[in-house]
């Protein structure tokens, strides 16, 4: 972490960048927040640890409008979002300086709480990111790092940065699960079971829009669900259908653009596994139109703005294609 701070100070000092976009220590050990640092002094508050899960790439849309370059720290998976935003002309490469940071998987206090741990006073991560020591009102607890890790890290798509000006820090392979296993589990269900599953999940939705607003692909200036363009403006859940409409269309709009960064599921206050929508589309795209990783580069045409003459027919796609 100190290496990151030192490098950021250097780049600020030599005028390469005008500001730094990173994470700032929170008031608890587990709630760092996204922050801009304008000088060396402010950088003393900089932090980078397992709790720094936030994908900073979307913040660069606003940062691109500022004077001068912004130094941004991107985890390997965030670099995909960065490329995708570059492809869509939403951020300005010339106004960014990307330091790729190593990633040993990201954790969340929610997962620690899910283990039944209450009254958390502080959390300490050991140097190798193997174990977490949790101090609570009711005594100290130890948790395996992997048990506090976000779902996305268990199925991480790789620790290589697809774009960066330099890379600092070590990464670690965190994959211990099959990425599409859950999608396949649902696919194998009967229609009634599928519907029951999604109904139970989506009926929790409170339409807070956190999933949308955190999503680097959902970067519309004005979401279609906030505008009058389709007579579809909605603010709150009224009937369960609206949630289906919102989530299906949201997934459709980001299909071929979603990098599977997992932010939607991370931020959902109701714990809805929203990534299951996006990942279904990713699985389908890979199957029907060939392996495609959104954000792998900033040039390739997305699968839904492309075609081949002998694409699968919609009815065959439903039957499972080939």
């Amino acid at each position: 972490m100190q290496e990151l701070i030192n490098r950021a100070k250097e780049l600020l000092a030599d005028g390469t960048v005008a500001r730094v976009l990173g994470w700032k220590k929170g008031d608890m050990s587990y709630n760092p927040e996204v922050a801009y640092f304008n000088n060396a002094e402010e950088l003393e508050g900089f932090v980078y640890n397992g709790f720094c899960a936030a994908n900073l790439s979307k913040y660069l849309i606003e940062a691109s409008k500022l004077e001068g370059k912004t130094l941004v720290f991107l985890k390997p998976c965030d670099s995909y979002s960065f490329n995708q935003l570059l492809k869509e002309h939403r951020i300005d490469r010339d106004k960014t300086y990307v330091i790729g940071v190593g990633c040993k998987g990201k954790i969340t206090v929610e997962k620690i709480r899910d283990l039944g741990i209450k009254g958390i006073e502080s959390v300490e991560i050991d140097e190798n990111c193997e174990n977490i020591t949790v101090k609570t009102l009711y005594g100290d607890k130890t948790v395996a790092y992997a048990d506090a890790m976000l779902e996305r890290c268990h199925v991480c798509k790789g620790k290589e940065h697809v774009v960066s000006d330099e890379v600092i820090g070590e990464s670690r392979d965190t994959v211990d699960a099959e990425r599409f296993a859950e999608v396949e589990r649902i696919e194998a269900m009967s229609p009634a079971e599928k519907f029951a599953f999604f109904k139970a999940e989506l009926s929790k939705c409170i339409r807070c829009n956190a999933c949308r607003n955190v999503c680097p692909a959902c970067s519309c200036r004005k979401c279609v669900f906030d505008s009058t363009k389709f007579d579809s403006a909605q603010k709150a859940n009224v009937d369960s259908f609206e949630e289906k409409m919102f989530h299906i269309i949201r997934a459709f709009h980001v299909a071929g653009r979603c990098t599977d960064c997992g932010e939607c599921s991370r931020v959902c206050p109701q714990g809805i596994p929203l990534h299951l929508f996006n990942r279904k589309f990713i699985k389908d795209i890979n199957k029907f139109y060939g392996e495609f990783k959104a954000g792998e580069d900033a040039e390739t045409k997305g699968p839904l703005t492309n075609f081949t003459f002998d694409d699968v027919e919609p009815c065959d796609a439903v039957k499972g294609g080939n």
Binding site: G26, D27, M28, N31, P32, E33, V34, A35, Y36, A54, Y59, K118, G119, I120, E121, L137, Y138, A200, E201, S203, K204, I206, R207, C208, N209, A210, R212, N213, V214, K222, D226, A233, K235, A236, N237, V238, R266, V267, P269, Q270, G271, I272
Partner: protein, 343 residues
């Protein structure tokens, strides 16, 4: 002081449900929220905080106001019926009950919101003292005693029992209906429990947060503070904080075309949204800084200014737990403290 064995709670729920709708915290798809009780409901009294506050029992996220139908060339307006069925909310915590009091200030003062009032009139609140307050709790800061909730009935889990004490007429009436299931309880054991809870509260990290400088007269000073300039930046402009909050009461009124009529309904709105209070001429808050500031100024300055110093934050800590950007009212208060100290 009365009591009922924990193992018999389902009988209690069933008995209450015989004469009234019963709302309880229940777990569906891994999350605990208030739900209308039925035989199949998996009641979850152990989770301290439901994701959403129970405010939508009184002020639903969306509710119909009236329906317009066209009969030949004439329009027929049918107002939505007011709540006319008694209901019981079981398990509300002290903070959420204070939240309802905040809503009362808004909806029961003139002009009275008839939809809300009907629900308040028909609702009985059975409160539950917090067994194990959590680190995100800071109700104490607002003078709330989570060991001694103030409602129609107050309850405590003590050992293998739920202790029950009616505090109001409504509470007495409800007690009478389920009297058969209740037996005499031990007052002193409850007192001991309260002391235990209060001892935990003392140790909570946010319990000693200072609200110094936050009051109805602080508008100018806080509004113009440069602290907001950096503070809002991580904010995603989602509505999570407002929708999980027990006191946020803003709503929008919209129409839905059902194909055979138009339903006019209201639904929660969020001051964090870019189209909040959008009017024909445009929007009076054009930046996220302004919107972000609005929410906290409202909770800690504007609301006390108009309600005899009453804050419209109750320290439930839901926003602390749920904000996707790890921003919350505690951080706001602390940021201003730091700024003050620096001065």
């Amino acid at each position: 002081m009365l009591k009922i064995a924990k193992v018999d709670l389902s009988k209690l729920y069933a008995a209450i449900a015989e004469t009234a709708d019963l709302f309880v915290p229940a777990k569906t798809a891994g999350q605990t929220n208030y739900t209308l009780w039925s035989d199949e409901t998996v009641v979850d009294m152990d989770t301290l905080k439901t994701v959403k506050s129970p405010k939508d029992v009184f002020f639903p996220q969306s509710e119909n106001l009236y329906t317009v139908n066209k009969v030949d060339k004439k329009y027929k307006i049918t107002p939505e019926e007011l709540c006319n069925r008694d209901f019981v909310v079981f398990g509300m915590k002290a903070c959420d009950i204070q939240g309802v009091k905040v809503l009362d200030k808004v909806f029961l003062s003139n002009p009275v919101d008839s939809f809300y009032k009907a629900r308040r009139d028909h609702g009985t609140i059975v409160a539950l003292a917090c067994g194990e307050p959590e680190e995100s709790c800071f109700c104490k800061v607002f003078g709330i005693d989570c060991a001694e909730p103030d409602a129609d009935v107050a309850c405590w889990f003590v050992g293998e029992d739920l202790c029950w004490k009616a505090l109001t007429e409504k509470g007495e009436a409800l007690t009478a209906k389920v009297a058969e299931l209740l037996s005499e309880g031990d007052e002193s054991a409850v007192e001991a429990k309260k002391a235990e809870i209060r001892a935990i509260v003392e140790k909570l990290p946010y319990s000693n947060l200072s609200l110094e400088g936050w009051h109805g007269d602080a508008t100018k000073e806080k509004f113009d503070s440069p602290v907001w300039d950096e503070l809002y930046k991580p904010c995603l402009a989602c509505g999570t904080c407002t929708f999980v909050c027990p006191t946020c009461q803003c709503y929008d009124i919209k129409d839905y075309d059902t194909g055979h009529g138009v339903q006019r309904y209201r639904c929660w709105d969020s001051c964090m949204y870019s189209d909040f209070t959008m009017m024909a001429h445009g929007n009076n808050r054009t930046s996220q800084l302004q919107r972000f500031r609005q929410r906290f100024m409202h909770k800690l300055v504007y609301f006390p200014a108009n309600n005899d110093g009453m804050y419209s934050c109750v320290g439930c800590g839901r926003c602390v737990d749920k904000c996707p950007a790890h921003l919350n009212i505690v951080k706001v208060i602390k940021a201003f403290q730091k700024e003050e100290a620096a001065k």
